[in-house]
């Protein structure tokens, strides 16, 4: 049975996920997204994966959320508060969400994973570090190259001079 900590974290995560999409101001929306990502880090702690949880906090809550906040603040104010969506599309989206939840939920509840139980001790995170530097070291190098190329690509895209740059006037 789920304990109180799990229930609290799941309510916080899902509630702030809905808030991130539905709050009118996108600044508060990005803060709510930050809470969602921190809640997922809390789930990782509950799953005995402290290394992944700390990585999640430092990467998502620390850098990605700040990046999103800065981008939101670069956008004109009336666009931050502007909500543009078709009401019919919205109802269709809510229907799609409920269909996905019920469909995948019934499949999962009907499957056999309910009887899975854990009796083994948690994986020591030192083993993950060892794996990273031995077996997965080529993948680690490739991941570093991907990150570097993504950052360089983002910088060159955002610094392009040939797109019109007149938002300072308004």
């Amino acid at each position: 049975m789920a304990d109180a900590v799990f229930l609290a974290i799941s309510v916080l995560t899902i509630g702030s996920a809905i808030a991130a999409l539905e709050i009118r101001s996108m600044i508060y929306g990005s803060i709510a997204l930050m809470v969602t990502l921190a809640g997922v880090a809390g789930f990782f702690l509950l799953l005995d994966a402290p290394f992944v949880a700390m990585f999640q906090i430092s990467v998502y809550v620390g850098s990605i959320a700040v990046l999103i906040l800065f981008t939101v603040m670069l956008v004109r104010r009336e666009l931050i508060f502007n909500k543009i969506e078709d009401p019919r599309r919205r109802y269709a989206g809510i229907g799609l969400m409920i269909v996905i939840m019920l469909g995948i939920g019934t499949i999962i509840i009907g499957s056999g994973i309910k009887s899975m139980e854990v009796d083994a001790p948690a994986v020591d995170f030192r083993e993950i570090g060892k794996d990273f530097l031995t077996y997965y070291s080529p993948a680690l190098v490739v991941m570093g190259l991907i990150l570097a190329s993504a950052v360089i690509g983002a910088l060159t895209l955002a610094r392009r001079e040939d797109v019109t740059d007149e938002q300072r006037t308004d």
Binding site: A2, S30, L33, L45, D48, A49, I84, E85, L157
Partner: protein, 104 residues
């Protein structure tokens, strides 16, 4: 570490809920930054699923995969935000229905 009193299915159901909310956002919202929020939620649902299954099997490869996935998602968000900034400078808007210069 912590006493394990939660079952796998609870984590998987939370992950399904996050996935469904993310798909809803991706389908309904026309604001490019909010669509990026929705993508982040879907990626996080996948990571949560991976780590939950790797705890219950149990092995360590799942956590390694989740770490790689988080790093790649960070790169994806950086490029996505740069694209949004470029599009905002060109169109003065972040409504994706206005980004139509690729339309034939």
């Amino acid at each position: 570490m912590l006493q394990m009193s939660n079952e796998l299915i609870e984590f998987v159901l939370v992950s399904v809920a996050l996935l469904a909310i993310g798909i809803y956002g991706l389908a309904v919202k026309r604001n490019a930054i909010r669509m990026l929020f929705a993508i982040e939620m879907i990626v996080n649902a996948a990571n949560l699923n991976i780590v939950a299954f790797s705890r219950f099997i149990p092995n360590s490869q799942g956590q390694t995969l989740a770490l790689f996935s988080i790093a790649i998602a960070a790169a994806e968000v950086a490029v996505g935000l740069a694209l949004i900034i470029v599009a905002y400078r060109m169109y003065k808007n972040i409504d994706i229905a206005d980004f139509r210069s690729l339309k034939g």
